[in-house]
């Protein structure tokens, strides 16, 4: 979708704000939110593409003004409610309880098997690479043009490189296609290509000299030139 998250090339967002000695988590709720992601996505309650799209459909004003882990909270609430794992009214009621009693603690529970499984997931990863029988359509050195498409749903084709010509620099594995996997329409794996764009092609006269941008793109995002 042409959402506020698709930020490449946007002006006016300000200076890069580097926090000195930034902690990994700024407060306990950020750390808990990360744990909730590991536990819920790690147990397959929703997939990574659904997770990302849930952030993309946030209110744009909220997206731009909220802290990073709030985005995670928003999408996890949305996905878990939609999947029927939790009930929206129950969540709102429980939130009110904690607003009234900020010092109240979360119920304590230990689950060594779950913790161990998730530790293994952290160490082993969860690749979305898939075997496909087809050969890649494009090869290294091929000139390609990105399609000028504007899907309403999830895609990983950024706006700033739509309808642009580039050269295939690398051919990667076939990966789960986010455009369908985010909407319960299947994995439909496609080869992913690292495409090299001259900055002038992307930004015209605004391009800095001697700049190249590489973007990783699924096969259906590309056409031959």
């Amino acid at each position: 979708m042409n959402g506020v998250h698709d930020l490449g090339g946007m002006h006016g967002l300000g200076r890069v704000d580097v926090e000195a000695d930034e902690p990994v988590f700024h407060n306990p709720w950020e750390k808990a939110t990360f744990g909730i992601l590991l536990a819920t996505m790690g147990q397959g309650l929703y997939n990574l593409d659904e997770f990302r799209h849930g952030i993309e459909v946030m209110n744009p004003a909220n997206y731009l003004t909220s802290s990073y882990y709030e985005h995670w909270l928003e999408t996890m609430e949305k996905n878990l409610i939609e999947k029927g794992v939790i009930d929206q009214e129950a969540l709102e009621a429980k939130t009110q309880e904690f607003l009234k009693n900020p010092e109240a603690s979360v119920p304590q529970r230990e689950d060594p098997e779950l913790a161990n499984n998730l530790s293994q997931l952290v160490r082993g990863g969860a690749s979305s690479s898939r075997e496909v029988s087809a050969e890649p359509r494009f090869g290294v050195g091929d000139r390609v043009r990105t399609r000028n498409v504007h899907p309403q749903g999830h895609t990983r084709l950024p706006r700033y490189v739509r309808g642009k010509q580039g050269v295939v620099g690398r051919v990667y594995d076939a990966f789960v296609l986010p455009d369908t996997n985010a909407h319960g329409e299947g994995e439909n794996p496609e080869y992913v290509y690292c495409v090299r764009f001259d900055a002038k092609e992307v930004w015209g006269d605004s391009a800095e000299p001697r700049e190249v941008v590489h973007v990783d793109l699924w096969e259906s995002y590309l056409e031959p030139v």
Partner: protein, 218 residues
């Protein structure tokens, strides 16, 4: 790619009296509420947070990437493997995992300086760099790094890339996770791998910062 679909009914959905940003108190309450409900359902536990998440505060961080870089500087065979198959090379050092299942290393040289970004969200090679800092995930860097990298590096990070050097920006838009192999600095001959690793900063492996110098380490 799919064609047009019905607009998601929760898109930009907000009650009319909602204002942003949401208060810290409310966000904290929501996180606790969610954790509570999931705990009651047996879907999460405290040791997930205390043990598994804590790994990203202590064990998984840029010191791992620094080890990889130091080894590549010291060992030409390892460097060759790192550039051809970064995952295989990192696994030799016991490094790898979530959000690094498909890593690619891009090498700086006298001709090319590399910088990594994720314009669409916050994709970052966790197994070698740990979790990304806020500046990497927030709109300012994500919007500007692909359009004016030389200016961003100089004005925001104090990294002045000479006009004669090309800048290659890698937008991590799919599942490949990039990190930078900086050039080995002069005056480091004879340094051990541990000493070399101590020169390697997280920001040098993203492509926005310099290495430490041997002089700084004395």
């Amino acid at each position: 790619m799919s064609g047009e679909r019905t607009t998601d009914t929760r898109q930009a959905q907000a009650p009319e009296d909602r204002t942003y940003p949401i208060s810290d108190a409310e966000v904290a309450a929501r996180a606790k509420a969610l954790q509570s409900l999931l705990t009651e359902k047996g879907l999460i536990s405290n040791d997930v947070i205390d043990k598994v998440v804590s790994a990203y505060e202590s064990d998984i961080g840029p010191m791992l990437g620094a080890k990889v870089v130091a080894r590549a500087w010291s060992d030409p065979e390892f460097k060759k493997l790192l550039l051809e198959d970064a995952n295989a090379a990192c696994e030799q050092l016991g490094i790898g995992g979530m959000q690094g299942e498909h890593m690619v290393v891009v090498e700086n040289s006298a001709q090319v300086h590399n910088t990594v970004v994720c314009t669409l969200c916050s994709c970052y090679p966790w197994p070698v760099l740990g979790l990304p800092p806020n500046w990497y995930k927030y709109p300012q860097y994500r919007s500007r790094a692909v359009m004016e990298p030389r200016k961003v590096l100089k004005e925001e990070f104090g990294l002045d890339i000479d006009e004669s050097v090309d800048i290659s920006v890698w937008d991590s838009s799919a599942e490949v996770r990039y990190f930078v192999l900086p050039e080995r600095p002069e005056g480091t001959e004879g340094m051990s791998q541990e000493e070399l690793a101590s020169l390697v900063t997280r920001d040098s492996m993203i492509g926005v910062g310099e290495l430490r110098t041997p002089e700084q380490m004395r």
